[in-house]
Structures are given as structure tokens and as C-alpha cells.
């Protein structure tokens, strides 16, 4: 077991190292997220809709769009120079490859989210210090599920003709349950509602993570094996 964990970290570490050396994709995704936030600010009528009402939806739509942009890149880098073939030839179980890619994607999407969050509080004039642990928790809970599905779809989409278009079309329906849940929990967190009002949604998010991480792990070998 520790040995397979090493392999997972090796795959993830390779991705993260490659990303940190160039930093272009990460920076671009962050700028993209910031731009989406700015555009949203102009897309509402401030006299009609208060920023607190629309804030949770804006936050999660921004996260979703930024995540798609970020995940598009995960397997595109593997395609160049046949890097994916090299990794598949290595004596690593497919599950470890999947978890490694998932971990790297989570680090990537997580970094973008963590940069977006302060900008979001700044633009929407919200104070989130008191609810920060809860907010980070729901971010993690919602993100794990759709990044797992995004990782497997990314591996598929990269082998198709219009990968950049196909990934969002396939992934967005799968983002619906986590996004609805996350928006609901965030709204209640911002309104200082008691935990009992969020438990149902948190359970849904947790269940989604368990089901889809398991399922994606099991089916990953069918996607990458020739």
C-alpha cells in the first residue's frame, strides 16, 4: 500500500513540477477566473440585485469555468511527445496513474480557487473570515467530485478531434449536482444559518465524491488502455 501511494505522488509530483516550471497555464487560469468575476460584476444591475444575493452563484460559476479551463490542460501536456504512452508503459497500476492525475488536477484547480476566493470577497465586499473553514470545506467537498469526472473525461477528450469543446459539453451536466449543492451551502454559510440546514446538501456532496471517485478509478483503465 505505501508503495502505491509513492507511485500516486510520483505521478502527481511530475505534473505539479512541470507546471511550476512554466507557470503559464496556472497563471492564465487564474487571470481567466479573475476576468470572469469582473465580467459578472458588470452583468448584474446593482440597483436591482444586491451583491450578497448573487455572490454564491457567481463564485461557483467562476470556479466551474476556471476548473474546465484548468483541466483541459492536464492531458494535453501528456499528448505531446507521447508522454502518456511512456507513463502507461511504466510498471504503474492504472489506478495509481488515475489518482496521480486526479491529485495534480486537484492541486491545480485548488490553486485557482484559492486565488479566486480573496478576489471574490474583495469585489463583492463580503467578509468571510468567520466562515472560512466551512467555506474551504465545501470547496474541497464539491471540487473533488467534479474534478474526478473531469480527469477521466479529459483523458478521453484529448484523444478526440475537438477536445477543448468536448470536455465542457461532457462535463457540465456532471457539474450540476455539485454546483447546486455548493451554491446552497455557500448561501447558508454567508447568511450564518445553522449547520442542520446544510447537512442534507453536505451528504449529497460527500456521496457524489465517493460514487464518482470510485467509478472513475474503476473505469480509467478502459479509457487509457489500447
Amino acid at each position: 500500500m505505501p508503495r502505491s501511494l509513492d507511485l500516486v505522488f510520483a505521478v502527481a509530483g511530475k505534473d505539479i513540477r512541470a507546471e511550476l516550471r512554466s507557470r503559464t497555464a496556472l497563471l492564465t487560469a487564474m487571470v481567466f477566473a479573475a476576468l470572469v468575476l469582473v465580467i459578472f460584476n458588470f452583468a448584474r444591475d446593482p440597483t436591482a440585485v444586491s451583491s450578497a444575493t448573487i455572490a454564491p452563484s457567481v463564485l461557483w460559476v467562476t470556479f466551474a469555468l476556471a476548473a474546465i479551463v484548468a483541466m483541459n490542460r492536464a492531458f494535453t501536456v501528456e499528448r505531446e511527445n507521447g508522454a502518456m504512452d511512456g507513463m502507461l508503459l511504466a510498471p504503474i497500476p492504472r489506478e495509481a496513474v488515475f489518482f496521480g492525475k486526479l491529485l495534480a488536477n486537484l492541486a491545480f484547480v485548488g490553486a485557482v480557487e484559492l486565488v479566486t476566493l480573496p478576489l471574490f470577497t474583495l469585489f463583492f465586499n463580503l467578509s468571510v473570515w468567520s466562515i472560512l473553514p466551512g467555506l474551504l470545506g465545501v470547496m474541497a467537498l464539491a471540487t473533488i467530485g467534479f474534478v474526478a469526472v473531469g480527469t477521466i473525461f479529459g483523458a478521453m477528450a484529448v484523444r478526440t478531434r475537438f477536445a477543448e469543446l468536448l470536455l465542457p459539453v461532457l462535463l457540465l451536466p456532471f457539474m450540476v449536482p455539485p454546483l447546486i449543492g455548493a451554491v446552497q451551502v455557500t448561501t447558508r454559510l454567508l447568511a450564518d444559518r445553522p449547520l442542520s440546514e446544510m447537512v442534507g446538501w453536505l451528504r449529497l456532496l460527500g456521496l457524489y465524491d465517493i460514487v464518482f471517485v470510485t467509478l472513475c478509478t474503476l473505469t480509467f483503465s478502459s479509457v487509457v488502455d489500447e
Binding site: P173, G200, S222
Partner: protein, 236 residues
Amino acid sequence: MSAPEIPTLHPARLIRRGLRLSAIGFLGLVLVYVLALTYAPVEARQGLAQKIFYVHVPAAWSTLLAFSLVGIASATYLWLEDRRLDRFAAASAEVGVVFGGVMLTTGPIWAKPIWGTWWTWDARLTLTLFLFFLFIGYLALRAAVQDPEERARFSAVVGILGMLLVPFIHLSVYLFRTIHPQPIVLKPSAPSLPPEMLRTLLVSTLVFTVLYLGFVTTRYGLALEQELREQGPDAA
């Protein structure tokens, strides 16, 4: 990889059989229209608008039947790797999208006079809309992968994941709706249907099932024909 394929049925014969079934289905559809307009009584509160029920509900039935069978065929494909399952899943998804289109157009036509709005974010409506999008994505993926072996595996994975997504979408939109209740009390479900209405509905459901089978058989035959032609030079 998969076992050598012995096409038990000639594609042309399959297509003929599918077209014949579809023709029977279309004739049945005429019968459904006649039954709905002359045999089934006019609903007291909804009036003639309720007649769309005899098309809308069976179309929804065929859509869900089509999509469930895609899910089952996908799961079985990853296990058995039989090309026929993949061909069937593709045909069923395509036909399901057509029936889904019928369902999603007849629904709003009925909803406008009865609910007073074309669309509402009711749990059932939202679920079917996302299913529809999901299967359009499924077909887009199929169109984008060239290698047939790879296409079959990829779409099987999407089919399985999609099947498991359904309860999650249902649960989330259901929770969403119950927390934000909508002023719609009128629901399309009618527990005690007059026997004439029920019979008309049953006939219509049967007709739509025949249409589904006819369309899928035709589509399957066409896909087989296409595959055989693409392999043609190698096989000969």
C-alpha cells in the same frame, strides 16, 4: 480483442425489418390520434390541451427506455466487449435524443395554457433536460472519436457515468425545489384515470415502444452496413 464477429443478420435485412416496424408504429400513431380525439373523453378542467398527454407521456417513456438501455448496454460492453452492444447503445442514444426532442417540445406546448408558463424548473423537467444534454454530449463524443474500438470504450464509460448521474441530478433538483417551493400544485400525474383515457394511453405507449424498436433496428442496421463498407477493402 473481442470475439470474431459473425453477423447473424444481414444489414439490409435488418434495415428492412426496422423500416417495417417503424411503418407499423406510424400507422399505430394514426390510431392513437383517432383514439385520443374521438374515444378518450375531454378532460374537465384542462380541456383539449390535455390531449397532448397521449403523445407526451409515451414519448417520455420511450426516451427513458432508450437512455436506460444505453446505460445497461454500456456497462455490459465494458464487461463483454461485444461490438453489437456498442452499436446498440449508439442506436438507442440517437433514437432517445429524437424522442427526448418530442418530449421536450410537447411538454411546453401543454404547459403554456395549463401552467401559464412554457418552462418551469420543476425536478422532473430539469432532470429530463439534463439527460437530453448528457446524451447529446454522448453523441458528440462518438462523432469525435475515429477509432471504433476506442469510441466504444469511451462512450461506454460516459454511458455508465451518466446512468449514475441521474439519481444525483434528481436528488439535487428535488432538494432544490422543496426548499424553494413553487406555486405549482397541478402535477401531470393523475392517479385515477378514466378507463378510456387509460386505454388510449396504454395503446399510445405500446405504439411508441414499437416506434422505438423500429427506429433502433433501422439505425443498428445502418451502422452495421456502414461498418461493413468501411472494412470492405480489408475483408476482401
